[in-house]
């Protein structure tokens, strides 16, 4: 090696910024209504290099990808292609610029062959514009040979594994002469061997000079593949550093490093007996061996990244989904029959993740929504009247300080926060002993947010056992007496309030093998 005689300005040949980036995004801003998805995002992709984009849930990674794919147009900021300013009006425009996006789960035409999928809309033709199947077959074979994979171009796309589908998409990208390849969490649904093959394919592309953007929640993959690591937080660029100079701890700090003000008051409560106990709950391919308990008066936070299986566990407990094995005990009684109705009868309440689809019937009014769980309770001699519903609605609206015009106002006229209070009220009115709350404050303005937090805290104070799922770390840390962390369907940590910090939770949530990991007792 004659490295020592290399007097090139590039100190580290692989990771130094080499000239003009193929694609560069500068100070991108994008809002959806009141939500600021991107506020000052930067990104540079270089020829022959892999850049990893990491960040918490909601940091703006997906919005970045969609902006690059031409699905979203930025409100402000510049995009440069080979140093020249461009703007992607639509997906076609972005594709013509040589940008290809490989999604987590590609969409293919299942009844067409692999080769037909690759050359859809631009099949090689013979005379009289007949499709030249032989040429198509040959070209597909050649693409797969370059990528070093074996897929039969003449088989139907139906039944291909997700990993194979991604490879087909990559082959398609090469045939389109893509210079920039964006992979949005491609490994989320892959097995170990498949990940290795995807990495081999990616390195091949890299050697051919493609600029690759790789998004993943798994640090081992990020460090194995990337030359550069760009960290985003709250829609803004935090740092871009050579992967070789970074440690996992540092990346996590960059991802979460923000103030945790005492916005989330958890009042001290007396913690009582075990109210909900889950033992070895498993569902194939979704979650496995989930064991934990929640005690009366306790708030247990369930943290983890999107897709870790948190909501799925909650749905299984409440009886919405089935599970394969395990036990659920409610106050030492086995909750055997599986239906939301039985769970309700046993004293469970469930404020679901999707307020508009699962929590509320958006076409009905406030009163009908709030009393939907009270149909039996409010009936007298089997009859249910508007008056009974309105009376109950007024009572709960007063208790929860719901701001609504009248019980008969359409629920859609309420603000997100007040809608969420109606969902809370609908369950609190059933007099539950255990309340599962999935994303208590998603899409709620800051003011109402702390009100909801105060409410949950007060409820725990009255002896309610609360299992709170949240993607917002400050919420988890501020509210929980105990924190459970899930990663890929497993509980990877159980942390006491004092042990739980942004770093320990995030480390367990990303499955990183470093300090701070606790095994459940």
């Amino acid at each position: 090696m004659d490295d020592t005689y290399d007097v090139d300005l590039q100190s580290s040949p692989k990771t130094a910024a080499p000239g003009v980036p193929v694609l560069e995004l500068r100070d991108i801003h994008k809002s959806f209504g009141a939500v600021k998805a991107l506020q000052g995002a930067n990104l540079s992709l270089h020829k022959g290099q892999v850049t990893a984009l990491v960040g918490e849930n909601g940091a703006g990674k997906s919005t970045m990808v969609k902006t690059l794919a031409g699905l979203h147009q930025q409100d402000r900021g510049q995009v440069f292609l080979d140093g020249e300013e461009v703007s992607f009006r639509d997906p076609l425009h972005s594709r013509e610029a040589g940008i290809a996006v490989i999604y987590q789960e590609p969409t293919m035409f299942p009844d067409l062959t692999v080769a037909e999928n690759i050359f859809m809309g631009r099949q090689p033709v013979r005379s009289l514009r007949r499709i030249d199947r032989k040429a198509m077959h040959q070209q597909a074979l050649e693409l797969f040979r370059q990528l070093g994979v074996k897929i039969d171009p003449d088989r139907a796309a139906q039944g291909l594994s997700i990993a194979d589908q991604q490879v087909v998409e990559i082959a398609k990208a090469i045939s389109l002469n893509a210079r920039v390849l964006i992979m949005d969490e491609p490994t989320a649904a892959l097995s170990g061997v498949e990940v290795d093959r995807l990495f081999a394919v990616t390195r091949t592309l890299q050697e051919r000079g493609a600029a690759v953007l790789f998004i993943s929640h798994r640090f081992e993959e990020v460090f194995a593949l990337a030359d550069w690591i760009t960290v985003m937080r709250d829609g803004a660029h935090v740092a871009t550093s050579p992967a070789a100079e970074l440690a996992v701890d540092e990346v996590i700090r960059q991802m979460v490093g923000r103030d945790v003000a005492s916005l989330f008051p958890k009042q001290e409560t007396v913690i009582g007996d075990v109210a909900l106990e889950v033992r070895g709950l498993s569902r194939k391919g979704v979650f496995s061996d989930i064991s934990f308990n929640v005690k009366a008066g306790e708030i247990v936070g369930l943290s983890g990244l999107v897709g870790a299986g948190r909501s799925e566990v909650a749905r299984a407990i409440f009886g919405i989904d089935k599970y394969d094995s395990g036990e659920i005990l409610v106050r030492n009684q086995n909750l055997k029959p599986l239906s939301p109705r039985d769970s309700m009868a046993a004293g469970l309440g469930f404020v679901p993740e999707d307020r508009r689809k699962q929590g509320l019937v958006m076409e009905l009014n406030v009163s009908r929504n709030l009393t939907l769980t009270l149909r039996k309770k409010l009936s007298r001699f089997g009859l249910l009247t508007n008056q009974a519903e309105a009376q109950s609605t007024k009572e709960w609206a007063r208790k929860l300080q719901i701001k609504a015009g009248a019980p008969t106002s359409p629920i859609s006229t309420l603000s997100g926060g007040n809608q969420q209070k109606v969902v809370l009220g609908k369950w609190l009115a059933t007099g539950p002993r255990i309340l599962i709350i999935d994303e208590p404050t998603r899409g709620i303005d800051v003011g109402t947010k702390s009100e909801v937090h105060r409410l949950i805290s007060e409820l725990a104070g009255t002896g309610l056992a609360v299992l709170m799922i949240s993607s917002e770390l400050p919420e988890i840390l501020g509210m929980s007496d105990r924190v459970l962390v899930m990663h890929e369907g497993m509980i990877t940590a159980e942390l006491s309030r004092s042990e739980a910090t942004e770093e320990t939770v995030m480390t367990a949530a990303t499955g990183a093998e470093s300090s701070g990991k606790e095994t459940p007792a």
Partner: protein
Amino acid sequence: MLAESTRPVPVREAAPRLGFLRSWDTAIIIAVLLSIAVAAATVAGFASPRNAGFLLIDLIPILLLALPMTLIILTGEIDLSVASIAGFVSCVFGALWNAGLSLEVIVPLCLVLGAISGAVNGLLVSVLGLPSLAVTIGTLALYRGLAFVVLGDQAVTSFPRAITSGLQAKIGATGIPVWIIPVIILAIIFGIILHFTGFGRSLFAIGYSEEAARFAGIRVAQTKFWLFLVSGAVAALVGIWWTLRYGSARGDNATGLELSVIAAVLLGGVSIFGGKGNLPGVIAGVALLAILRNALQLASVPEDTLSMLTGGLLILAVVAPNAITWARTLSRHPRIT
């Protein structure tokens, strides 16, 4: 006011949807009154107690079937097999009568048969999760076929006159048939179930959002199963009625009646997409359809044309709400060209 409203909700926002519902109900009731007025003025013999009796008797099977159909359509499903179940039950009724069984035995048996036929629909829809449109279009053909299996192309007509004419009995000289009374009572019961019970509330919730209903602990599949079962039982009742009213049990009894029933329900303001509608509106829809058919029949309009009218009204009932919404948005946001 629920609580001190720091951010008052504009009341206007609530108005369009509710206002629209009200205006549709009003429109149907005006249409009923208008058609009565026009028919009375232009069609000879329409405004007579005798004709009123005919009209009401003809209205009975459609009204009966419209009751469970309203609940089913409100949950976002449909039952196209009702007329075929009625035909099937009619044939079984005839066969059992021929076998010498008494009415006290035949009627309960027929109701059970109808309930079972409906339960088959219900099982396929709720347990297997198949779309009711496909399931009941299949059983529409199936049950009609079974009707012909039971009686072939024969008819059983040996019912005693005392029973068949008894069905036509009138209350004094008013022309109002006696048997409309239990039907009205049944309609009131359905109205109470739909509008004043927790079960009724759950139907609206299912129709608008099955997922949200499930999350609120509503047993969606079970609910649908029972609705189809009841629909089958009511269809059996109509089969029995039809047989005795016309004094004839035949394979083709009540053929095509499902079209009139669905047209009446939709005319009554029930949304084909589920969730929206009320029973008084449906009764007005049934009345409108019956009045139009009766008046046109009196005016010697051929049956083919009447069938076109029913079909046309059905389309109108589906199109009109959408067209009105569309027109409203257009008037609110005029297009700039």
